[in-house]
Point group: C2
Chain length 429, copies 2
């Protein structure tokens, strides 16, 4: 069940893990109090990077698309967490409309949809799948690799409500990150729960809002624990009004790369870390690992060649990139087999429900792994993140996963705060 | 992982299971609404009997003592459910005092305590174990079979609070069923949460109150589903003022045995069931499978011999039996290996967190299995009860377990209502 992970993770992180374990009553109590004040996202997944001396989230997805990658042993955990989430959002819920990404041939993704629908059905919901694709004009079964059928149905708008033929759901769950903008058909659904809310989609969401909220969460958490927040928080900065095609904003980019690298260098010196600092430059909105660049010196972002500029200028759905985040790069010291690996932790409501490793043998320890050549190791977690066992040596797998579960929950808390703060009514006020 | 279960369970139960599966959205919604009105017990376990034509609870334990029998795969589920329970009872909870039964040499039971403490610690609570035993005057480590140590500590009463030396918990969790009565040291703890409440202990609890509440729950549930409530509800009756030693109350007993048998016979005729009806006569208060008798004819309870009268007259802690419940017997058609088996379903809060089979090769299909010769099959559940899979054939294990999970939750709901109704302030009003 356990993949071949390099466990030669020495240095401060063992201290950090030990501190998490020793403080677990305090940590759990702190988190409980936070969840009393902030409603967790319905679901989320967080990409973590474990540098040995640092353990930090580098991306938080509010429309997780890899439920099919979870170890089947986590299935009951997903159902239980989903029951708890549904109770809160809509105790009377009986019909749930799931709106997936606009893929009809990406069977890998559709298996995720099937898995998610299965989890939700098992909480007792009637779940049907409505597609935003204009070519879906009638119920369309798609055969999945396991032989089962997933039926995509055309959406039907009826006044202020959205449904399907013969299906009037009380809840709409988006597994579509709205990179292409908010479709008209989803607007003004004020009689139904839309989860996550529309403003959590990439049409409006910004990574920098998330990491600003995370910075605050990490700061408060670190203070409670008496650790340096940098141990769990990547520095970041933002440049707006970038136009890669027209070489606009290069100076802003170079200055911010330099500033972030400078702060990281200072920390490496403080802790005697003998690694080369780097930053990740990526689109502030958008996903799918597009428009991502590893930079070790500010000079690298000046005079990008055409290929580099093309690569950076668009993300999913052809969205033009005009705002970028410059995020402290976190090396990963984890390997699965021959590949560099990073854990992806899945959450439903405030519960860790599983995870897997993203592995990429074609990439280095300081690169984005969400790129061609990646694969997933669904069996990577031996036990759930929820199960620290203080009696075991911290080298034992469950303990390292406990630390992952804590940091992932901090990221989910940051997402909760981010969603509160960016709510349109609030933002307009 | 799956033991050799006889799956030749034909007849109406397949219909019943199918109906449960088809109606699972309705069932889950109904249960959600119920849990909005009634607070589930902190934990519970329910003994079920599956007769093929009937699936019913025959006992609900509010101080479950077999957490060590659960499949380790259920562990994360227990932690997640416990997190949810603790949040509700005491979001600020940090210290929990666990009070076990007064055993120091029953290592099997103490493994349960260790397991339970482990689950609770993993929710982030400081958990320590306080013993009611007068001989525990200092922290006393007990070595468990796995080599770990369980430390029992002497209780310290300080005004209206109970704790240990250097430990002032906000919550007290009883894993002691108070068969010997409510000890003085537990009374008047009005500043701390005591879970389950003292009146749920066998000093005051009555099986007949539980099954009266269950009858109501089963009735409402059956109406929602359009089934005969008898399919899930065992008939019962009560005799008070019994004295087995002095042959007092034999007539009451015989009359009630006859009445219950008559009702069961009527149902067997209605459904064309070719089995011999029987009732179980057992103490209305108390546990541990003591004071239990299988009766097929009223004449059997008249003129009991000395051995029978001795057996029936006392239960755990030497409690004298003066009230008995006459409960419709439910055959079990399940076998594990060579033994007659019945499932025991474990719940924390409103979540099914696991289960096992109680197996007894020395007993018949119409007898109490909680008797010498019994053993447990911790691996008996292939998957969690929470995971029905409507696409599978109902013969597949998960589906049968879904039905078990539903009935177990009905029993937990009945326990919630029972605890509300028997609350002293309410009872006195």
């Amino acid at each position: 069940m356990v993949p071949n992970l390099t466990t030669a993770l020495t240095g401060p992180l063992l201290d950090l893990e030990r501190r998490f374990l020793d403080a677990s009553p305090q940590i759990e109590r702190w988190l409980r109090a936070q969840w009393n004040e902030h409603t967790p996202p319905f679901y989320s997944s967080t990409d973590l990077r474990n540098a040995g001396f640092k353990l930090a989230p580098v991306d938080t997805n509010l429309f997780p698309g890899g439920f099919n990658n979870l170890n089947p042993a986590f299935h009951p955990l997903c159902v239980q967490a989903a029951m708890s989430a549904i109770e809160k959002f809509c105790p009377e819920a009986c019909g749930l409309l799931l709106i997936p990404e606009n893929h009809t041939r990406n069977l890998f993704y559709l298996q995720n949809v099937a898995q998610l629908a299965g989890i939700l059905r098992q909480t007792g919901l009637n779940v049907r799948i409505g597609s935003l694709l204009p070519e879906i004009v009638a119920p369309t079964p798609v055969e999945l690799p396991d032989g089962s059928l997933l039926t995509l149905e055309p959406l039907r708008r009826n006044g202020n409500r959205l449904g399907l033929d013969g299906f009037n759901p009380c809840t709409i769950l988006l597994n579509n990150d709205l990179s292409a903008g908010v479709p008209e058909i989803l607007r003004g659904l004020d009689e139904q729960f839309v989860l996550p809310p529309l403003h959590a989609g990439w049409a409006t969401r910004r990574k920098s809002n998330h990491f600003a909220a995370y910075e605050q969460v990490a700061g408060e958490f670190a203070q409670t624990l008496g650790i340096d927040p940098w141990r769990i928080n990547p520095y970041f900065s933002v440049c707006r009004s970038i136009n890669f095609h027209e070489r606009q904003g290069e100076e802003c980019l170079a200055a911010n790369v330099d500033a972030v690298l400078g702060m990281v260098r200072e920390k490496y010196r403080e802790y005697g870390i003998d690694e080369t600092p780097f930053v990740i430059v990526k689109a502030d909105a958008g996903t799918y690992g597009m428009g991502v660049m590893t930079v070790k010196d500010a000079s690298e972002v000046i005079g990008l060649n055409r290929r580099q500029r093309n690569k950076m200028s668009v993300v999913k759905e052809g969205l033009e990139v005009s705002e970028v985040i410059i995020q402290e790069g976190v090396h990963t010291v984890e390997r699965v087999g021959d590949g560099v690996a990073e854990p992806v932790v899945y959450m439903i409501d405030r519960y860790v429900v599983g995870g897997f490793y993203r592995v990429n043998a074609a990439r280095g320890v300081d690169e984005n792994l969400n790129a061609p050549g990646m694969h997933f190791e669904p069996l990577a977690f031996e036990t759930s993140c929820l199960c620290p066992d203080a009696r075991q040596n911290p080298d034992a797998a469950p303990n390292r996963f406990y630390a992952y579960g804590v940091v992932a929950r901090l990221a989910a808390l940051a997402a909760a705060i981010e969603i509160e703060r960016t709510e349109p009514a609030v933002a307009e006020a």
